[in-house]
């Protein structure tokens, strides 16, 4: 499925799904719904990864993001259950201005890209295949990127400590 | 003794007060008497160590003496360079003398936080001496600003009601000028590639291209004009003077204001001669305005210190007038007048301080008929007043006369300038005598004044030296003129070359505009 119609269909489907669910994340009243839509969006993104031949990342996305982070989110949402907040306003006072500005920002990013797509001249996707993906990633991760990997461990340690310190009533 | 040989004596003079201050840090705060003694001791020591300068100074020898030079910040090429010429000598001595007197004058006036008070006074002393002795731009600037801080506290902590306002006003005003000067200094560096004042001084008059000279002149102008202070930058002065404690006012009027004129003489005039020639007219007009305006404002003051403050605006106007007359007489007169102003205005503030200590008010209306309870005070006050209004045989006259004589010489409007100056003299007599009359004459109306004690020994000790100096300068100023001859000669040769050869003075219009083209832009 290197080229042909299918990839495009896959891409545009997943893209549309990601965008739509993302919008729903932002607009839906209850936090739970947003969380679920976020999951959808992330899954769609995972699909796109797959379409980009990044299988490993596809897995990571699903396991770590959807399986880990989102569960955490849902858990917290349960913890600080907000039936009250369901009835109150979900958008702050500046929402109109903010939306407009955000869109302006988006235009500022995208319009030049669109106009200059000639100038930007991103090379077409290289024929170089990245298979077997997991192995290559493993190689890179433990040779070129060993150091960041180690630092990441500290980062996660910090995160752990932080979560404990913050969430635990007494240490 | 190595500390006192010609290479190090200036450092000794400079750091004696500082040493005192540091020493006092270790005396417990509770022991106020000790601080008093130490303060006075080191104030006096500072005076003593400065005396060898007078003896060893070779008058008539051009250039700087007692030069001391070390690397300071090699990375930016700043040196620790000290040295004085005649001008510097006069200023240094003035500073040490007034410093000692100011410290002595606060013996009983200061009743809180003696420790910090004396430490700050000594720090201030070092700062001022540094300004007058440093021969390196950066060093000069550092001292120039260091000195602000102690003054801020002297006004802010030991001042009277509106002291905080006055203090911060003083600080900001002066700072506003000096920060601009900092840029000008840097600009000089990029054109002269040195921070050494001597090198820049010895450069030819068109060393900086004219356009640059103009900029630099104004860059320095604000710093100095605010310090002097020239109208319209003077409004910090009345507040600062009024709120400051006696010693503060004495130092402020006696020494701090001189930094402005000193700056003009040391930097603006000799370093940017062409620009100076161009702006001479403006400067003289400003000075005249200061003279007359200050005098006029004096008349309406209800507060003695304010009155004296404005009178110093007027008197310093004479100094700037003399400087920008750019003639030997004008310049030497101006320097002498600076000395005089230090002496007589300092003495005036001391006298007001004497009253303030007794009555804790400075309002003229509170007094009257004081010559009955305090006759000696009346006599001293009279002498000081006379010296301040330029009575012959007292210092004021020598300065004012010489300045006006030098001004008279200015091409074209000479007589007019002189005439205006003389008007200032008349007004001076008017407001000073009026003040004297309101305070001293008449019969005692206010019962509080009936039994005021006359001046005590310490007050005599503070005032006597000043009065002696006043008479000395008034009767035998020759040594002063001799000391000042060389620096003045240098200045004049710089601003209008060939003055001393008997050609008619070149009209300032002949500032060589092409000169800018000739000198290659150095960077």
């Amino acid at each position: 499925m290197a080229n042909g119609l299918l990839p495009q269909i896959v891409f545009y489907f997943f893209a549309a799904l990601a965008v739509v669910s993302a919008i729903l994340v932002v607009v839906s009243r209850s936090a739970i719904h947003s969380a679920i839509f976020l999951i959808t969006s992330l899954l769609a993104t995972a699909g796109i990864y797959l379409q980009l031949e990044a299988e490993f990342l596809f897995v990571v996305q699903i396991i770590l993001y959807v399986g880990g982070i989102m569960v955490l989110f849902v858990f917290v949402i349960m913890l600080v259950n907000l039936d009250v907040s369901l009835h109150q306003l979900q958008f702050n006072r500046q929402w109109l201005v903010a939306t407009v500005l955000a869109i302006v920002l988006g235009i500022h990013f995208s319009l030049p890209l669109w106009l200059d797509r000639g100038v930007v001249n991103l090379p077409p996707p290289s024929a170089a295949t990245m298979q077997p993906n997991s192995e290559m990633i493993g190689q890179a991760l433990f040779q070129n990127y060993m150091l960041p990997f180690e630092i990441a461990s500290i980062l996660l340690l910090v995160a752990m400590i932080g979560a404990v310190v913050m969430a635990k009533r007494r240490i | 003794m190595m500390l006192f040989d010609n290479q190090h004596i200036l450092s000794t003079v400079l750091f004696t007060p500082l040493a005192g201050a540091i020493l006092m840090l270790f005396i417990p705060r509770s022991n106020a008497a000790a601080h008093r003694w130490m303060g006075n001791l080191f104030g006096f020591l500072g005076l003593l160590v400065s005396l060898p300068l007078i003896c060893r100074f070779q008058a008539g020898q051009t250039g700087f003496q007692f030069v001391e030079d070390h690397d300071w910040i090699p990375t930016i090429g700043a040196h620790y360079t000290l040295g004085i010429d005649g001008l510097g000598l006069v200023m240094v001595i003035l500073t040490t003398v007034l410093g000692a007197i100011a410290i002595l004058s606060s013996w009983s006036a200061i009743q809180k936080r003696e420790k910090e008070y004396y430490i700050l006074l000594l720090l201030l002393q070092t700062g001022m001496l540094g300004v007058f002795t440093s021969l390196d731009f950066v060093l000069f600037y550092v001292f120039w600003e260091v000195m602000l801080v102690p003054m801020y506290f002297l006004i802010g902590v030991w001042g009277s009601e509106r002291r905080l306002y006055a203090a911060i006003k003083f600080f900001l005003f002066t700072l506003a000028g000096s920060v601009v000067m900092l840029l000008a200094i840097l600009a000089i560096y990029f054109n002269a590639h040195t921070f050494d004042i001597r090198t820049v001084l010895s450069a030819p008059h068109d060393f900086f291209p004219l356009q640059l000279q103009r900029w630099l002149f104004w860059g320095f102008f604000f710093a100095f004009a605010i310090k002097v202070p020239m109208v319209p930058f003077h409004t910090w002065l009345p507040d600062a003077h009024t709120e400051a404690p006696t010693a503060g006012s004495v130092i402020l009027a006696g020494v701090l204001l001189k930094m402005g004129t000193y700056g003009f003489l040391r930097f603006s005039v000799p370093m940017f001669p062409d620009a100076t020639n161009q702006f001479r007219g403006i400067m003289m007009v400003l000075s005249i305005i200061a003279i007359i305006y200050g005098a006029l404002v004096c008349m309406m003051q209800k507060d003695m210190k304010k009155l004296i403050a404005y009178s110093s605006v007027s008197h310093m106007g004479f100094c700037t007038l003399g400087i920008f007359a750019l003639t030997p007489l004008g310049l030497s007169g101006s320097i002498i007048q600076q000395l005089n102003h230090g002496i007589s205005t300092g003495a005036l503030f001391l006298l007001v301080g004497v009253l303030y200590e007794r009555r804790h008010t400075r309002l003229i209306s509170e007094f009257g008929g004081l010559s009955t309870p305090m006759p000696n005070f009346a006599v001293v006050y009279m002498i000081v007043t006379l010296s301040s209004l330029g009575m012959p045989l007292l210092n004021g006259f020598i300065g004012e006369f010489t300045i006006l004589r030098g001004t008279f010489e200015v091409p074209r409007y000479g007589l007019t300038w002189a005439a205006f100056g003389v008007t200032g003299v008349i007004l001076g007599a008017a407001y000073l005598l009026w003040l004297y009359q309101r305070v001293m004459f008449g019969s005692v109306t206010n019962p509080a004044n009936e039994h005021l004690p006359d001046m005590n020994l310490r007050e005599w000790a503070t005032l006597a030296p000043l009065i002696l100096l006043a008479f000395w300068i008034g009767i035998y100023p020759k040594p002063l003129f001799r000391v000042l001859d060389a620096p003045v000669r240098q200045l004049v040769e710089k601003v209008n070359p060939g003055y001393y050869t008997s050609q008619p003075p070149a009209p300032p219009a002949q500032v060589p505009a092409p000169a800018a083209a000739q000198t290659p832009e150095s960077r």
């Binding site: 930007v120 990127y145 980062l155 400590i161 310190v165 | 550092v142 840029l183």
Partner: protein
């Protein structure tokens, strides 16, 4: 193949020794904590201090690296003077803050090992920020630092202000680092590599005013500006400064700022150096805005921590001016400024820390009233620090500003120079509001601030450095010059 991997690791291990030391002691603190009674918690501080010292030693070992540095771990880090310089700054700041923290935490009853551990981890992040030449290293380092700070800011968990500060910091920080990440992704997209040198080469080859490059520049700049709290990305600073525990405020305002400046310099002097014509204007504008807003806003601020926040914003403006000048001197000025700023700014906060006591945060202007009568030494030091902040000689701050002005004049940025110079006036005004409160006003409460041993040591050190760098700045300037190595050439 694993063989050679270990091989190269063993060869290059000494390069990351300082960080390793910190990590080791950080975890050590966590472990030792279990052995300690409530009143022995100061041992944690001691351990952390040891870590800093050891890290410092191993940093000192590296001092003979060539000017262009030693690359390691597949060019993902470079050990060059720049790193050593900033590493020293971070460690110094960390040491000072640790000294200042003990008493404070005891008063707060939040004396936990995690605090020190997190500080050390944050320091690790900073150091990687300073030495990383790889986008990923930089990003992870940045996040390590940032997240540690989020936690530390909220460390007083029962204090509403602390919570709020932490949450705000987190939201804003996450947002900004997301933007930064976006920029990084674009950089990667431009070059296909995460190595700065490669990216730089690519950027150089790119046609001028390439959209992707500009997008990357702007997003990265936005992220970094946020970290250094430059206008208009500054607004987190006052709130976080006020909310955080005061030692952490000091740490944030000094160390994290220095680290972010390291990142900024690293990126702008390598990646974006080819297109500096494009960003000089941007930096200048941001600098001027920061100076203006910081100075103006501080004039009426009555909370000292907020006031110092605004002042730090204005200082950022000053430091950025050095980058605007862009010549060697300007960069030296920046590094020198960052170096001394670490000391006198921490000092200013330290005095506020000294004022902390049960029930009173001691960060209101009135808490300073009559400090002179209550603790002359503290008042004296505070005066020195404030003078230095205001840039009055003979203090370090003056030399720093002097160098900045110098660079501006040398590169003929006259207008900027005049602006910068004139902004000293409002600065002096609001700093001297504090001075006046300390020295002139009479004390409104009878509380006598007592200085613990640690605080005394820290205060003394900072005061000495501030004065020394003002009176004889030569060594410091040389250090700053040394720090640049080959950068910016």
């Amino acid at each position: 193949m694993w063989q050679e991997l270990f091989q190269q690791t063993r060869q290059q291990f000494h390069l990351i020794l300082p960080e390793v030391q910190l990590a080791f002691f950080g975890m050590g603190v966590l472990l030792i904590d279990f052995l300690l009674e409530e009143r022995e918690k100061w041992v944690n501080a001691l351990t952390a201090m040891l870590g800093v010292i050891f890290s410092g030693i191993s940093l000192y070992m590296l001092r003979y690296v060539p000017a262009n540095g030693v690359k390691g771990f597949n060019n993902s880090i470079v050990i060059d003077p720049f790193f050593i310089f900033f590493g020293f700054v971070f460690l110094a700041a960390a040491a000072l803050v640790i000294l200042l923290s003990v008493r404070y935490l005891e008063i707060e009853k939040e004396h936990h090992a995690e605090y020190y551990a997190l500080m050390l981890f944050a320091t690790i992040g900073m150091m990687f920020l300073a030495c990383g030449t790889d986008l990923i290293v930089l990003f992870i380092g940045l996040e390590t630092m940032a997240i540690s700070f989020y936690i530390l800011t909220g460390f007083l968990r029962n204090d509403r202000r602390s919570n709020e500060g932490a949450l705000k910091y987190l939201l804003l920080g996450a947002f900004s680092s997301a933007i930064l990440a976006y920029g990084f992704s674009l950089l990667y997209g431009i070059s296909g590599s995460t190595n700065l040198d490669v990216i730089r080469a690519e950027v150089a080859h790119r046609p001028p005013s390439d959209v992707l490059v500009i997008l990357a520049l702007v997003t990265v700049a936005a992220g970094v500006f946020f970290k250094i709290a430059a206008v208009p990305f500054h607004q987190w600073a006052p709130d976080v400064y006020e909310g955080a525990p005061t030692p952490i405020t000091a740490f944030v305002s000094v160390a994290s700022k220095a680290a972010s400046f390291a990142l900024l310099l690293r990126l702008f002097l390598t990646v974006f150096w080819p297109i500096r014509v494009d960003w000089t204007m941007l930096i200048a504008a941001v600098a001027v805005l920061s100076m203006t807003l910081g100075n103006i806003a501080a004039i009426t601020e009555s909370n000292i921590k907020r006031l110092l926040a605004y002042s730090s914003i204005s200082h950022v403006g000053y430091i950025l001016l050095g980058l605007v000048a862009g010549n060697t001197l300007g960069l030296e000025a920046m590094t020198f400024y960052i170096l001394v700023y670490a000391f006198f700014n921490t000092g200013a906060f330290a005095v506020v820390i000294v004022l902390r006591r049960k029930g009173v945060i001691g960060d209101e202007l009135d808490d300073m009233n009559g400090l002179f009568q209550r603790n002359p030494g503290a008042a004296m030091l505070m005066l020195i620090f404030l003078l230095s902040l205001a840039g009055i000689p003979p203090t370090a701050g003056f030399i720093g500003k002097l160098l900045i002005f110098w660079a501006l004049m040398e590169t003929q940025h006259y207008v900027l120079a005049i602006l910068a110079v004139l902004y000293i006036l409002p600065a002096v005004y609001y700093y001297f509001r504090i001075v006046a409160a300390m020295w002139v006003r009479d004390s409104t409460d009878s509380f006598i601030p007592r200085v613990s041993l640690g605080q005394a040591v820290a205060l003394a050190a900072m005061g000495i450095v501030t004065l020394a760098a003002g009176i004889y700045p030569n060594p410091f300037i040389e250090f700053a010059q040394y720090s640049l190595g080959v950068l910016g050439r």
